[in-house]
Assembly symmetry: C2
């Protein structure tokens, strides 16, 4: 059985931004911890919903056809499949992502910021 | 698109223990918020993993064949399918549960504490 995960300790174990770490696997879903700062690429996911749960800092989720949404620590937002979005953090920000394993971070956009999630350091 | 959820406000919206509220749906998964106090029934889930993420208070997860695990706020634990467990909270405790929609709270045990998750109050 996997050990428990202390989220603060897990976040303290890496500094890299926009590079998700797999904190937990639940059936075919993953909880990934990610540090963000600045703008990510506009993208959507054709066949997967995506949940953002802000842990530290503030996250602005921009949309094409609806109002942007600010997320504070302790707030979560589901981005339904197909909805184009751009995560943006004005300062250091840590989030938990919940989504199906295999969902690619840049979704429809691809490009140089595409990266596979990494395991947490032991 | 669903609105963002403020977890503290969502937890403040109900007092009932052992009665999960659906905070978010992500594909066929759900994030459920639950308040716990005292012992739950021993049970397992035949075909579903279950993630406990402690938000407030302390949770003791008891197992038949391995050491019990204490979880503090900001700690999470995955209970793999088939593993018998008993959640127990010595005082008021709030957790986020992450599991596939349709997973029954009492799993293999059934009985009077079986309950369907409810929507969050608007």
């Amino acid at each position: 059985m996997p050990d428990k995960v202390n989220i603060a300790a897990a976040l303290a174990s890496f500094d890299e931004t926009w590079s998700p770490r797999i904190a937990a696997e639940v059936d075919d879903f993953q909880v990934k911890l990610t540090k963000l700062e600045g703008d990510f690429v506009w993208h959507h996911h054709d066949d997967a919903d995506e949940l953002f749960w802000v842990l530290e800092g503030r996250l602005l989720m921009r949309f094409r056809d609806r109002d942007d949404v600010w997320l504070e620590p302790g707030e979560l937002l589901v981005i339904p499949r197909g909805v184009e979005h751009q995560p943006s953090a004005p300062g250091p920000c840590s989030v938990a992502l919940l989504e199906r394993a295999g969902v690619v971070n840049t979704g429809s956009a691809g490009g140089e910021r595409t990266t596979a999630p990494k395991p947490l350091d032991p």
